[in-house]
Symmetry: C2
Subunit: 430 residues, 2 copies
């Protein structure tokens, strides 16, 4: 199918997909093949993928591909028939969690999962006020897209009225080592929801604040926040789409790291290694409340092929001990980042855990003025050298490195050796 | 993975998936394998599948399976890189439609597609009032689930306020041969939306009213309705999830059959033969309005594997001439239904086009009193004889037969021979 030039691909994207369909990098990559932590473009050039978390156990992981092919050629249908696949998967998935999280609804995307989670909160509390951070993203349905402050509040069927935002944690500029400030700001928004008459239903957060720039939140950091939420009678919803499945290296789920057990937990991207599957895990009584108060069926959700793909992902994490591996590689990455920070004034802060790590770039270490434009040039220079990663955070000045889980110490060395060269060559002013 | 008894499967479903997770048939089928129009259960028993429209080109269609396996082992990633797959597919898909329908957003489900379509209507018209029929289903997100009157209006973040309903067409009990009555009832709800201050944004319908019991609506039937919608400045959204991809046998898309070109068209279930893919097709300017007014990205949407599966479905429809095939088999089915109607008083009305057909069961042909309970027993008796289909419509008394598209004349004969036996043996009173 590889036939268009890059110029023609860009023209046809606008022609068939409309304007404003974003791509990564000033010079987008035309990918044609993937394997493990590697991607190849149409010219046969190889790239180290330091960013894609969807192919969690590696691009084209053989175990996952085999599971998909085997099940797709055997049977693929919906859950109104009986099938072992979905039950085996939910049994194994919930077996990795606190005993209270024992039932699930399987969906096709993390967006669908969060869309359900908010309705679970509405059904359980009888209220509709949701709290999220001001620098997050939880999906693309009409309901959950309003959780992104970057989506215009004037659109989306007036759903914006139900959302209030707290300032995203920022360990670099606004330290809050024990999470007490964050808990206090949540308490303030709970009060505002209650005063407004909408009432407080839930706090929805990524427990490791991946979109917010993964601030340095020590283990147990969410405990005071969870207390505030429970005291107010609301639900704690943890969106583990990015932070789960062992990403942080220390725990299978980031909420464990943060010292809390959510009432509802949502899953997406890495769950099927790219096969479209998402899910909501919760306590039996919350699921029952949702199931009896709302009509819900998902045609593709929990089908045998999706469950086979997702099961292969869990098995691969287990067999290859990928959580421990993420911890080992993450600690090595941390040391390499520290060495770079000692060498380059522009690296203001380094953060991360396991296989999500990065560095915040600043024009001045005292003023902490974000080096956003510089960061952008670094990302693009790295791409030209065959290293793919991205940036994020409120100021778009944090290198975000979040590779497939098989990413090795050697891969990390290639990444940081190249970053060293790029930082040496990139001038602070454009 | 086949290891639980049927009893254990049912226990574990409640245990892991919660209560109220519906199954088909009083004695649910434990399926383990599918091929073409056939399904096999765990005991090796073979069933003729007369109902599943998701495996559109047949269970485990070899072309689709091969496409999925090939692409899944080559590359699967999101659309922020460049790739030919999504462009090839959208080019081919829009090539089957009116020239005005020339751009698309690919999603993972029909629900996500309708969720976008309603926001396109909001963005384009600046209004939020949607009209649907009172016996429909358009998906499971918080927004679109409120389009089902069977979902409690008290839940769903107050979104129910934006929906008004018209009585579903019913050619048997309330004839409307040229669609004028339906157009008039849409006009009344438009006026009600305008009067309420919400304003009219869109009419969202399945152009062949599949959930409503596929009433006998002659070709061109939606023309007066489309006129009313356009005159009021609203969008006509056609949900072709069930009615599209040649299902009706006379046209690739049911809106063509109904004589209209929608402003927005949504797709789902059969698109990838079970692989989770859906989509929204619309005019460039509507897509542009949506893209500039709303933040939208779908991680799995339009990925290379989904597009390969969907492309294989289109190729299979074309190569096997499945639309013409559906017409041929549908005409044969019609004749067999007519013969049964002459023999059995309980068959009040027969309807359908192509590979969606059925019969409305009544206790009395004069009063047209629905034989709902009888229909239920027929469905279950058919299942015991190895023929799988279902029922639908406002009174749940219409046999709904909607098999995979390779369903043959011989398959239809087996279905109707068995139905003949079951009708002969099933007493009207329980």
């Amino acid at each position: 199918m590889m036939k268009r030039t890059k110029e023609q691909l860009l023209v046809d994207r606008t022609r068939y997909l409309g304007p404003n369909v974003s791509t990564f990098y000033d010079d987008p990559v035309h990918v044609v093949r993937g394997e493990g932590v590697w991607l190849w473009d149409a010219d046969g050039r190889k790239y180290l993928d330091c960013y894609n978390n969807v192919p969690h156990v590696g691009h084209c992981n053989p175990r996952v591909v085999e599971a998909i092919c085997r099940q797709a050629s055997t049977l693929n249908t919906h859950t109104r028939y009986l099938h072992d696949g979905i039950l085996d998967y939910v049994e194994k998935l919930t077996g990795t969690m606190d005993a209270s999280l024992d039932t699930a609804i399987l969906t096709c995307t993390g967006s669908e999962a969060n869309d359900i989670a908010l309705r679970m909160a509405e059904g359980t509390t009888g209220k509709r006020g949701i709290i999220a951070t001001d620098a997050t993203y939880h999906g693309n349905t009409a309901l959950v897209s309003q959780l992104s402050k970057s989506n215009p509040p004037s659109v989306g069927f007036g759903l914006g009225q139900f959302f209030r935002f707290v300032e995203a944690p920022d360990s670099y500029r606004n330290p809050d080592p024990d999470g007490a400030k964050f808990a206090q700001s949540v308490a303030e928004q709970i009060e505002a929801h209650e005063k407004s008459g909408i009432g407080f239903a839930a706090l929805l957060i990524c427990p490791y604040f991946l979109n917010e720039g993964f601030p340095d939140t020590p283990d147990g950091w969410l405990k005071p926040t969870a207390e505030v939420v429970r005291k107010a009678g609301g639900l704690l919803i943890c969106d583990e789409v990015q932070s789960g499945f062992g990403r942080t290296g220390t725990h299978m789920w980031a909420h464990e790291k943060m010292g809390v057990v959510p009432d509802v937990m949502t899953l997406g991207k890495p769950m099927g290694n790219g096969h479209p599957i998402g899910g909501v895990v919760t306590r039996g009584e919350i699921l029952q409340t949702f199931r009896s108060g709302y009509r819900y069926f998902n045609t593709f959700g929990g089908n045998p092929v999706s469950c086979a793909a997702a099961m292969a992902v869990l098995e691969e994490i287990e067999d290859k001990a990928l959580v421990r591996h993420a911890n080992t590689v993450g600690q090595h990455a941390r040391k390499r980042l520290e060495a770079l920070q000692a060498k380059y004034e522009v690296i203001g802060d380094i953060r991360g855990s396991g296989l999500v790590f990065g560095a915040e770039m600043v024009l001045d270490r005292d003023s902490k003025e974000p080096a956003s434009e510089f960061t952008d040039r670094v990302i693009n220079a790295m791409r030209q050298r065959g290293i793919l990663h991205s940036k994020l955070g409120r100021h778009k000045n944090t290198l975000k490195i979040r590779p497939p889980m098989p990413f090795s110490v050697e891969n990390a060395d290639l990444l940081f050796d190249t970053l060293d060269e790029v930082l040496a060559e990139t001038r602070l002013a454009p």
